[in-house]
């Protein structure tokens, strides 16, 4: 009797310790793929990760082949991809963020209205639509009427993918504000729009900004919807009505051409680094600008 009383706590302690180590092990296990990916990209990509990557457009298959035969590093970089990604994302941001924030404000303000519920559910559904499907739909909506592939079509596809994330993050960060802020604003005689624009949105700015950054980093590496909307381009293009390329699209092209294959790694590494940086920036902003 006495013995069991003494051993019981020890047994329970042991059990909790085993559980703790198990949880730690598993969480470390989930990290392994990430480190393997980063390691592999660095190992294979560092040779091509040079200044040219940022300043030169992608080489043709022939140039790459000649370099390969003579044993040199493959000339050229992914400037056209970087420029295209920047252009497509910039237009996507202009399209998605105001619309997403406006919808988020509506959802946060009219939580229980039937229309708000419908919009909320539809926005969740939108998040689940495969990106290639969005790409094909945008092909029909934008590429066909404009009689050509364009950066604008790609931006539209990415904007549609960003919308649910922007809507949700806006709604959630507005909901976290106390009602007393809105009441205080209205009690000073402010109109509803002034209270939303001058008090509520600025007060939840860090949440909005973080949400927007995460949405951007999420769609940055998208390839499928771009394949059917922007086509690709061998040169730097800043015209939204013209075919464009993007970093992710270039990676796809490198993958399809054995001569260019070694550029896959350096461009993937760069894309990954950009996405990581945006994520870290989003996290630090969320922490730093948080309002008590």
């Amino acid at each position: 009797m006495k013995k069991t009383k003494l051993s019981a706590p020890r047994y329970r302690l042991m059990k909790s310790r085993i559980f703790f180590y198990l949880v730690c092990t598993f969480s470390l296990l989930t990290m392994i793929p990430l480190f393997l990916i980063i390691g592999e990209l660095i190992r294979k990509g560092y040779k091509q990760f040079n200044f040219d990557l940022f300043t030169k457009v992608a080489p043709t298959s022939m140039e790459a082949m000649l370099a390969r035969i003579s044993g040199d590093a493959i000339p050229g970089g992914i400037l056209n991809g970087l420029a295209g990604t920047l252009l497509i994302l910039a237009v996507a941001i202009v399209l998605a963020i105001p619309l997403g924030i406006a919808t988020g404000v509506y959802l946060a303000e009219k939580k229980e209205k039937p229309l708000a519920r419908l919009v909320r559910n539809l926005s969740d559904l939108l998040q689940g639509i495969p990106s290639i499907v969005i790409g094909v739909i945008v092909y029909i909506w934008v590429v066909k009427p404009m009689a050509g592939y364009s950066a604008l079509a790609g931006s539209t596809a990415l904007a549609i993918m960003m919308l649910p994330m922007v809507i949700r993050s806006t709604e959630e960060s507005l909901k976290m504000l106390p009602d007393s802020l809105k009441e205080a604003g209205l009690a000073l005689g402010g109109s509803y729009s002034a209270v939303v624009l001058r008090i509520l949105l600025p007060s939840s700015f860090s949440g909005l900004f973080t949400g927007a950054l995460l949405a951007i980093s999420r769609v940055m590496g998208e390839t499928a919807p771009l394949l059917v909307t922007v086509l690709g381009a061998a040169t730097v293009n800043w015209d939204i009505t013209q075919p464009t390329t993007a970093v992710s699209l270039l990676i796809w092209e490198f993958y399809n051409d054995p001569n260019l294959a070694s550029l896959i790694w350096s461009s993937s590494l760069l894309l990954l680094l950009i996405v990581l940086c945006i994520n870290l920036l989003a996290k630090s902003i969320a922490k730093k600008w948080k309002i008590q």
């Binding site: 802020l181 205080a184 009690a187 402010g190 001058r198 008090i199």
Partner: protein, 258 residues
Amino acid sequence: MENTINTGYILELKEVSVSYTPGKYAVDKVNARIAPNTVTAIMGPSGCGKSTLLHAINRLHELYPGISTTGEILLKGENIFRMNPMKVRRLAGMVFQRPNPFPTMSISGNVLAGYKLNNISLNKKEKGLIVERSLRSVNLWDEVKDVLNKKGTFLSGGQQQRLCIARALALKPELLLMDEPTSALDPISTSRIEDLILELKKEYTIIIVTHNMSQAARISDNAMFMYLGKLVEYGTTRQMFTKPENKRTEDYLTGSFG
């Protein structure tokens, strides 16, 4: 135009009722008249409708669907339900239970928030004057004059509440509505706010909801006692605390219930 006759009272409540759900009144046919430059305390147990009545006076209920307000509320003889709600709220400033300075704005930005929200543009000199005048009137100027550009949320709770009062006063309201303004504050901050209320009485008319009977006794000229949505007794504070007319008021004041 009978509604614009000046009766000498700044605020008149006529058969004011507020219901959250149809048929159930949180405030039930309240009649009262309030003279200028007085402090009126609204007392009563939790859920008796004190705050609801106060919120009706600057039409904040309209924020929430399903709340209906009936009766007439005359502010300086004018029916507030026929006025633009934004104008009503400018004339009847409000101070809330918990200090709620706008977290993105600086101290001076908070004081000027009312002007910003109403799209009234001011030049630098006017801004400076309003900030100084408002902060002086709540005795906060000397404490914050060197940190006007710091965020309002850096101040202590008591200072934040005085900042919120300054924010309401900056618009020069006729009426200052205070909803348990000291319930979240420590005793020292509370006594500073109480002293302030007595000073502000010279320029403003104040209606204060309070749970604290001794506070009502200390600062108010007149007092209302509400119970279950009804205004049970309304008279001078002195009379209510010495010779209450109604048995319920007496029971509440002596601590028998509530």
